[in-house]
């Protein structure tokens, strides 16, 4: 204890100086509703869906750690491209919802998508009064697509 006190006093005084200096400085605060902070371009704000590219392959829903992606689809038979060819089946997407009440913004779905249908958007203002309203449907997820920034240029 005696050793403790002797070593503690300079540190305690240093701490007092630090808090006093911090108090006299201007607080680095953005007054949010009045002044909006501009997030970095690749910020993980919300996930948007390009429904055209989606094949309802379910990879994102299966990789999602907290099962917040709901996908429903059905298969239709497609006429063979050449006469006598095999009949193909195609997945049609009926429902694609992301529950942002559950999402933990890990981005695994975006990484795992083999058809580039999911993108990160830096938008963050979609809080709701009811938790059920945080379930964004296919249409809402498609609206976010307009806010997705251009992808970085490919390395040559």
């Amino acid at each position: 204890m005696s050793r403790g006190i002797k070593f503690a006093i300079p540190g305690l005084l240093k701490g007092m100086g630090l808090t006093l200096r911090t108090m006299l400085k201007k607080a680095p605060v953005t007054m949010y509703p009045d002044v909006k902070e501009i997030p970095v371009p690749r910020a993980r704000g919300v996930i948007s869906l390009d429904a055209e590219a989606c094949t309802a392959c379910m990879l994102c829903a299966r990789e999602c750690p907290d099962w917040c992606i709901y996908i429903e689809g059905h298969k239709v038979e497609k006429a063979p491209s050449k006469p006598g060819g095999r009949v193909r089946t195609e997945n049609i997407l009926d429902r694609f919802d992301i529950d942002y009440g559950l999402c933990m913004y890990c981005g695994i779905c975006v990484d795992v998508c083999p058809f580039d249908a999911l993108f990160w958007s830096p938008e963050y203002e979609y809080s709701e009064m009811k938790i059920a309203d945080l379930l964004h449907d296919q249409e809402r997820l498609g609206e976010w697509l307009t806010t997705v920034p251009e992808p970085p240029a490919l390395e040559s």
């Binding site: 701490g15 400085k25 680095p28 605060v29």
Partner: protein, 336 residues
């Protein structure tokens, strides 16, 4: 003047002073603490600087349900907050804000202040014991152990002041600090006790007072990471508000006592006698404000001590130093 009217005026003034100073202290703590943590704290309440935040918090607490646990000891449980509040208000009754501006000028003012402030411990122990909650009980007993340990250095620090001032009246102690020590170039120089040999005593008094107030770094009785909220765990609504206001009023009260005993109270250098009753309250207020700010500053800087470190600091450091301090002061008093 009619004695009853005088008593009524004194009571109203003291109540207003206690409540306003407690609210102002809460506000300053919210605001200064926020800025120390690089935040801005309350901002919208009241239109500007969030000045109405303590009032809004108080209004919120008043609306809450006044709960008591089923197994609580009802009367004791309900009485405890008022004991704490009463002890905080009682301190203000004897602190002089001017030669005539004092609730009661007791000949044993110092004794009264120490006794009434120690009464808060009883309230805390009542709250802890009657809540029928293990956290409350441990918190209350920790508070009792802490306050017993720190009451001793606190009193010993005051004893040294009493020896130097040769009186136990708070007014007398202030007058002793305003007495002329020596004359320099035709001017009478008077110095507060902190500059005439009580600097160690002042340090001990402030440390012990912070511990008496159960403030960080000595807030083990309500250590929220260990004890939820200590003896406050079961309280809500108006009774919690009473504890809360009492705590902040006590901060102001202890600061006023420290200012009176060590910093010269309502007296200021070069202040003419005729102005003492008018300027006195403001001089005292300035000194109290500095001390209150230091207590808030400490809270937002230092971490909480461990229970054994707390006891060790009191018994192995503060009490021996305070005893030596009393001895040294008494020796000087006899020799010179």
């Amino acid at each position: 003047m009619n004695a009853w009217l005088e008593l009524g005026i004194t009571l109203v003034v003291i109540l207003v002073v206690v409540l306003v100073s407690a609210l102002v202290t809460i506000y300053v703590e919210l605001k200064a603490g926020s800025h120390m943590q690089a935040r801005i704290g309350p901002y919208y309440a009241g239109g500007r600087w969030g000045w109405a935040q303590p009032l809004a918090d108080g209004a919120k607490f008043l609306q809450k349900e006044d709960l008591a646990p089923a197994k609580a000891d009802g009367p004791v449980y309900r009485l405890a907050p008022y004991v704490v509040m009463m002890s905080a208000i009682g301190m203000f009754a004897v602190i002089p804000a001017g030669p005539d501006l004092v609730g009661v000028d007791l000949a044993l003012g110092v004794y009264f202040v120490l006794a009434i402030s120690a009464l808060a411990t009883l309230g805390v122990l009542m709250a802890g014991w009657s809540s029928a909650n293990k956290y409350s009980l441990i918190g209350g007993l920790r508070a009792a152990a802490q306050l017993i340990a720190y009451e001793i250095p606190l009193i010993l620090a005051v004893v040294a002041v009493v020896i130097q001032a040769e009186t136990m009246s708070l007014n007398g102690i202030v007058e002793a600090q305003m007495a002329t020590l020596f004359t320099l170039g035709g001017m009478d120089i008077a110095l507060p006790f902190i500059l005439t040999g009580q600097i160690v005593g002042f340090g001990i008094f402030v440390v012990a007072a912070v511990a008496e107030l159960s403030r960080i770094p000595f807030d083990m009785p309500i250590a929220e990471s260990e004890l939820t909220m200590g003896y406050l765990t079961e309280y809500s609504g108006i009774r919690f508000t009473m504890f809360f206001l009492g705590e902040y009023a006590s901060i102001v009260g202890f600061s006023a006592v420290a200012a009176t005993l060590f910093l010269g109270g309502y007296g200021a250098p070069f202040l003419p006698e005729s102005l003492a009753n008018i300027a006195g309250p403001f001089v005292l207020l300035a000194k109290v404000a500095v001390l209150v700010f230091v207590i808030i500053w400490i809270r937002f800087t230092w971490p909480r001590l461990r229970e054994d470190q707390l006891q060790s600091l009191a018994w192995r450091w503060l009490i021996p130093i305070a005893l030596v301090n009393v001895g040294v002061v008494a020796t000087f008093k006899v020799v010179f």
